[in-house]
Symmetry: none
Subunit: 538 residues, 2 copies
Amino acid sequence: MTRSITIFDTTLRDGTQGEGISLSADDKLKIAVKLDELGVHYIEGGNPGSNGKDVEFFRRVKELNLRAKIVAFGSTRRKGASVEDDENLRLIAESGVQAASLVGKAWDFHVHTALQTTPEENLAMIGDSIAYLKHRGLEVLFDAEHFFDGYKNNRDYAKTVLRTASEAGADWLVLCDTNGGTMPHEIREIVTALAAEMPDARLGIHTHNDCELAVANALSAISAGALQVQGTINGYGERCGNANLCSVIPNLQLKLNLPCLPEEKLAQLVPVARYVSEIANVHMPTGQPYVGSSAFAHKGGIHVSAILRDSRTYEHIAPELVGNKQRVLVSELAGQSNLISKAKELGIELDPKSPQAAETIGRIKELEHRGYQFEGADASLELLLREAGGEVRELFVFESFKMLVEKSAGKPVVSEAFVKLRIGGESLYTAGEGNGPVNALDNALRKALLQYYPQLTDMHLSDYKVRVLDDKEATASKVRVLIESRDAEDVWSTVGVSGNVIEASWEALVDSMRYALLGQEPAASVAAAEPRPGLLNH
Amino acid sequence: MTRSITIFDTTLRDGTQGEGISLSADDKLKIAVKLDELGVHYIEGGNPGSNGKDVEFFRRVKELNLRAKIVAFGSTRRKGASVEDDENLRLIAESGVQAASLVGKAWDFHVHTALQTTPEENLAMIGDSIAYLKHRGLEVLFDAEHFFDGYKNNRDYAKTVLRTASEAGADWLVLCDTNGGTMPHEIREIVTALAAEMPDARLGIHTHNDCELAVANALSAISAGALQVQGTINGYGERCGNANLCSVIPNLQLKLNLPCLPEEKLAQLVPVARYVSEIANVHMPTGQPYVGSSAFAHKGGIHVSAILRDSRTYEHIAPELVGNKQRVLVSELAGQSNLISKAKELGIELDPKSPQAAETIGRIKELEHRGYQFEGADASLELLLREAGGEVRELFVFESFKMLVEKSAGKPVVSEAFVKLRIGGESLYTAGEGNGPVNALDNALRKALLQYYPQLTDMHLSDYKVRVLDDKEATASKVRVLIESRDAEDVWSTVGVSGNVIEASWEALVDSMRYALLGQEPAASVAAAEPRPGLLNH
């Protein structure tokens, strides 16, 4: 009989322990929505006892009514204190979550050295804390910290810790390889033994990648009887990261035939992985297994000709299963069907055989080749597709912009922008100030457009990201700017690419306003459609 | 009895199949020297039949008299042709190497589909080619391509392929998981069966990372009896890469007690990994297991206080064993103990009870509150801590900068920067151009500083990140800029925060140069220390 495996995502908690990963409450909520869509069973959101950002997350996530269980994380009560006086446990109980993840020590060395208490008090801390949360109606997942190190050093104590947690009512016993130093064969042996000794316990596995074995260790534990796997999107996490769910999930589902996500969700892995990397503002390695842009990329020669005969010759799975695509680095053959289906999704008729479709696809491919990335910029992609159908009118004819930033010792920095453009027959030359260059450009451009499109007052830019595209010379290479904009109802993202961050920002800014005004008529009369300002073609 | 495991490095051959990896003959020779110093047993240099670069490599590598065996790679002869007429085999024989790696098909599906020949002819191609090279005095490693897929689909044929190679004189039978789709338990079962059936064969393992299991699969095969492991430095290779020797080697040596390198060489792993990533011009992920800069970095407050009591609490090995070091990251999640231990790590005396320490900690906390993030900007933090000890001299007195970006329709965008500052008694006013504003600022500032500090020619900016700190009004809110810089030996990161992205970039840029020049004296005479330019305090 096939077991079904439960997926516990800790991107929002353990993932943020990774160096350089910092998520706002807004970021966390956005990611939670995507994880829920993907179909993970548990979403660990943070530690309500650690900071106000996490408290805000738990307050707001309730309004989203996600299907996944939201989990709050915390530690067992303090040594020598009453569980009733424990602020952290109280905050977990009050956070309104359905489930709590409670970490306790399973390695006696840690009890002595880190907690500086007795093995008995540690057991009492575990038992009391679990009972407290169970009593308040929460599902409790007990994280047995350093379980494998503990088992190898003092097997009896490690097992007593699990039994204590189980007797106090823990719903799950999660075995943690906290330091990431355990080998797959050790995990297999230990979990096999436990599964035999505690046949009724529901075991989970939580692994770290310090030996580049987090995924293998998770699979080892699952094969030996564990029923839940914990990890993060893209493997984010402290030191070398956590088990990467983007690899664990397809390995379970496609290789070991252990279902975990609804089957049709697997193809969401690539978009989710890329979305999370965009929000976290962390480069996704091109060679990331399953979801990286090189994961099914074939470099010239023998491989390519074999691939063209039968893709199974050099592909271990069909890339579409995880939402990825084959790339043949010499001749770009992929992507077309994605674009056609994207157009359909937007209600745009794009006959795959028409020269118009071929031209649009060619143009998008060329832009991607130049560093544009439309996964994080849906609005820019929609504009390109609607342009193919002749639906998009240009807002203005661009003539020039100038941007000046000036800073003198002891004085505040000054940013000014000057924009020259034509709308209909009218020439406009406007100036704007701002506390940054993009703000100054935004102000100057709005000043010109608002006379024609007063609706623009309702929109504003809500996020701004810059990414350097190649590593050789950071200040002399291409950058990609992503701008997120909002009005009362909608949120949309646009992209610009240039060797110059100001020009890339301008491009994304203009697209953002074009998108805001899709299908809207100017308030004042504007002459017939003008040619595209040509910024993309400079 | 402890087996000794042979390390076969294919960074220079399979590694260069990775997207974005390209090595000149010079690059390859430099890397070969490092690999030899590390103590690997085989260095596969390339395919003399494929291009002139590899021919040059094989010609010049002989002059280096390395201890490692140099290996040339090639395929079995063409179907239906004589081995004597095979240009590739002739070039291998003439390249002067001691050993050849010869790839042949072990999966009948590939024989039909890719080679388009009969199973019998494929066996003849393998036998003939190995015999040809053995006859010319070479050691031959037979790469059984797609061995595991072949074994699972047609076990008899896959085993016949191995027997044919063995009977033709192959010294090693290397089992390749070419598509990277095999699971560790399958590798274990298959290698165990083969080792029992062919007790005299020397088996090698060559794995790919398509399921994020290349390292686990290599260990599986070694545990089951294989004696040679093939892989690349940093796991470079086609698609998702090859088995990463920087993880395989310490796992074998420190975890499985299987010696492979001379014991004292293990501490060379970090410098070798970084050197190869520099030569290949590919960023090393900070979280790379064992050798990444975050591999022993600690962020959480509880972790840090435990680490300070005993590093084994959160470190699976002593980082020095592989040439790495412990780092304590400073973040909102942690407090004073992090800063004190960070100072200690840098060799800075900072008495936790001194007013100086309290002032520095207060200043860092205030900067964090204003949006600075030091966990991604070690160099800026180090500058602040050294300032507390009076160790840091200002490079110049800031007077002003101006930055102009101009774009007219149909013309390329232009960026110019003007920097005014004083060094010693001298006033300097310099101008710089660039393809972006930060590049222009960098150029103008360098122009002024290079007269005093010619060492700056060696450093360059290698990454640039911008993050908006709150979402309310993206173009009118604070931004944080992180700049990563490099020179031949070092990588460091600096941070700037401002409402203005240009000012934030300037701040990070100046810190980057201050860090590069820590402890260095100006070439020309500069007057005594000047007051801090006060950018942080505008």
